[in-house]
């Protein structure tokens, strides 16, 4: 269960103050497949960043499970991200000098030195996301869809409580985007991992179990299930 209570965030650029989030409150059930939609500047990414312990809210409380992440210091948030969260970025963001296998294994190596266990889990997730045979390829030799599959595998491999995906289909064609979304939905169903997306993509909104629309940092609508 993720609880977000009265969260506000303001960015300042010189004299200009941008209220990215205005007193947001919501609860997200474990295992949710939730999309956050809204126009540019509506606060989608800021909300994801605050929940993902990448950014800190100016006020309000955020808890993930039993952990009050909004009260954690930098080190605590880093450790929390390492153990409990997975991230998928719009532009995949793989390390170009590492192979598919190494990019995925890196997420595990941050927490463990058990090479056998790392190898087992990495190969298992590679199989699960359909990347067998591509283990030794560098990102430059993978298609966009394949790269996003690697990013999904990297986010999943540590068996996190929550995966945050910032516009994961934005750089993919509709067919590939759909396939990636199917994969994430399948992982959500199979592993019970909570997924939160920020998106502009209608297809993502349609497939989400719950859709939250933001506008100017406020929740405009919160609809459960397919709308």
């Amino acid at each position: 269960m993720i609880r977000i209570q009265n969260v506000s965030k303001t960015y300042r650029s010189g004299d200009l103050a941008v209220h990215a989030l205005k007193d947001i409150s919501l609860t997200i059930e474990s295992g949710a497949f939730l999309a956050v939609a809204g126009p540019s500047g509506s606060g989608k990414t800021t909300l994801l960043n605050c929940v993902g312990c990448i950014d800190q809210a100016d006020s309000g409380l955020i808890s993930i499970g039993e952990d009050m992440v909004s009260e954690m210091d930098n080190t605590g948030r880093t450790q929390f991200r390492r153990r409990n969260l997975g991230f998928i970025f719009q532009s995949y963001n793989l390390i170009p000098v590492l192979t598919t296998y190494e990019n995925i294994a890196l997420a595990l190596q941050l927490n463990s030195n058990n090479t056998k266990e790392i190898d087992r889990k990495t190969r298992e997730i590679l199989r699960e996301v359909g990347l067998q045979g591509l283990e030794d390829r560098r990102p430059s030799r993978l298609s966009g869809g394949q790269q996003q599959r690697v990013a999904v595998a990297r986010a999943l491999v540590g068996n996190p409580k929550l995966i945050l995906a910032d516009e994961p289909t934005a750089n993919l064609d509709s067919h590939t985007g759909e396939a990636i979304l199917d994969l994430m939905k399948e992982m959500n169903r199979r592993h019970g991992i909570t997924f939160i997306f920020s998106t502009h993509d209608k297809m993502v909104m349609e497939r989400a179990d719950r859709l939250i629309r933001l506008h100017d940092g406020e929740i405009q609508s919160d609809t459960g299930g397919k709308q």
């Binding site: 990448i54 880093t78 450790q79 991200r81 390492r82 532009s91 590492l98």
Partner: protein, 408 residues
């Protein structure tokens, strides 16, 4: 281990840039090894030349002479040679000398390049004992050694060459006697000395002590004695000296050169430091570009839970990798260069003929193997490279992760 691998792979991500930067560092290391080898060789050879051509292991001088050595005065002389020489018998070897100023007169009609005169410092020597203490008399490249009571003169090769002097040429030395009157000694060039000592080749003028004694009216008195002997014997001798005599060790006699060499070393250290600064700016620049280009990647790594320290270490390792490549290239160039320097040397005698650079070295200057300079340059290169990653990495890592992720 994962950091090491990541750093290693990132090192070759921008391989051209890495190679260019490493080359700058390699140049710094090459210069360091080259200059250090060259200067060490010059120092060592200069000290050796001082010992074998000028100072021996030590000297006994008339009190006051050393303090006023620039005057080359006949006011400070050792009169009682007999009792002093009695104390010197236990030493390996010793020889007296008398230094005095003179005008060297030469004429075109005698084969010289022109008519003229030059102020010189003449050293009167004992032809029997001087070769036992000094090495230069083995290097008479033309003619023969002067003999007792012979109106002969030995000249340094560059000095003779510059004036056009050859063996058999008549020379006049205009001198002032001990009592102030002027006299002229008519001499004939008996030999020309060519050694590995630039100072000696440029300035040496030797005549027999007996001749100098006769013309300078010194009645057997000398400026001093040059000694060869063990430290123990020389220390005992020093303690037994009477008033009016002063013992100067090799260290005392070469003090000026040591100061000059130390100053020269300081300048070299500054130059080397500047070379390393230039090289390190290159490393810093490369790392800065690499780190800024990867700021989104840094944001991603921080999102995954990699700590700032881990990311910083990975950049430091990467920069040290550039340093390591630079060290490799530097050594690959410096070793063969040093082999050449040590075995063949560089002939820069053409410079020394006209200028006194302070080093008493041969025209061909040899280098020296110094493990320390390789080690020092490697450690410096590695540490400097590592440090150069810190500033740009810190600038990225102190920004919020959200900023790193936004900056693509």
């Amino acid at each position: 281990m994962k950091l090491l691998k990541l750093s290693f792979l990132n090192l070759f991500r921008y391989h051209k840039r890495t190679l260019i930067t490493a080359s700058a560092l390699a140049y710094g290391i090459l210069m360091f090894v080259f200059i250090d080898s060259f200067m060490s060789g010059a120092n060592e050879e200069s000290f050796r030349n001082y010992r074998i051509h000028d100072t021996g292991d030590g000297q006994i001088l008339a009190a006051g002479w050393w303090e006023n050595k620039d005057e080359v005065s006949l006011d400070y002389l050792i009169e009682d040679r007999t009792s002093l020489e009695a104390k010197l018998t236990g030493l390996q070897a010793y020889t007296p000398h008398l230094d005095f100023p003179a005008d060297f007169l030469f004429y075109k009609a005698d084969g010289f390049v022109e008519d003229g005169d030059l102020p010189v410092v003449v050293r009167a020597i004992d032809p029997a004992t001087a070769p036992l203490v000094f090495d230069q008399y083995k290097h008479i490249e033309d003619g023969t050694m002067v003999r007792d009571n012979q109106y002969g003169i030995l000249l340094g090769s560059w000095f003779a060459g510059k004036l056009g002097a050859s063996v058999g040429a008549p020379v006049l030395l205009q001198v002032k006697t001990r009592y102030g009157s002027t006299d002229v000694i008519e001499l004939e060039v008996t030999g020309i000395i060519h050694t590995g000592d630039s100072s000696l080749n440029r300035k040496a003028v030797y005549i027999p002590l007996t001749i100098a004694d006769e013309y300078l009216e010194t009645d057997g008195a000398v400026t001093g004695y040059t000694l060869l002997g063990s430290d123990k014997d020389l220390a005992a001798l020093k303690d037994s000296l009477e008033q009016g005599l002063r013992y100067l060790s090799f260290f005392d006699l070469t003090y000026d050169f040591q100061s000059m060499a130390a100053m020269s070393d300081s300048f070299i250290i500054i130059i080397i430091f500047l070379i390393f600064v230039i090289a390190s700016v290159g490393v810093s620049n490369t790392m800065m570009m690499g780190i800024y280009e990867r700021r989104y990647e840094v944001g991603m790594m921080r999102s995954l839970g990699m700590t700032n320290r881990e990311i910083m270490n990975s950049f430091i390792l990467e920069a040290m990798g550039i340093g390591l490549i630079g060290i490799g290239i530097g050594f690959a160039l410096a070793i063969p260069l040093n082999v050449f320097l040590v075995n063949h040397g560089i002939d820069y005698g053409f410079m020394l003929k006209d200028f006194d650079v302070g080093y008493r070295t041969t025209g061909v200057l040899h280098g020296k193997w110094k493990a320390g300079s390789f080690l020092y340059s490697a450690v410096t290169g590695l540490v400097v490279s590592g440090i150069m990653a810190v500033i740009p990495a810190r600038r990225i890592l102190t920004r919020p992760i959200a900023d790193n992720l936004r900056m693509k």
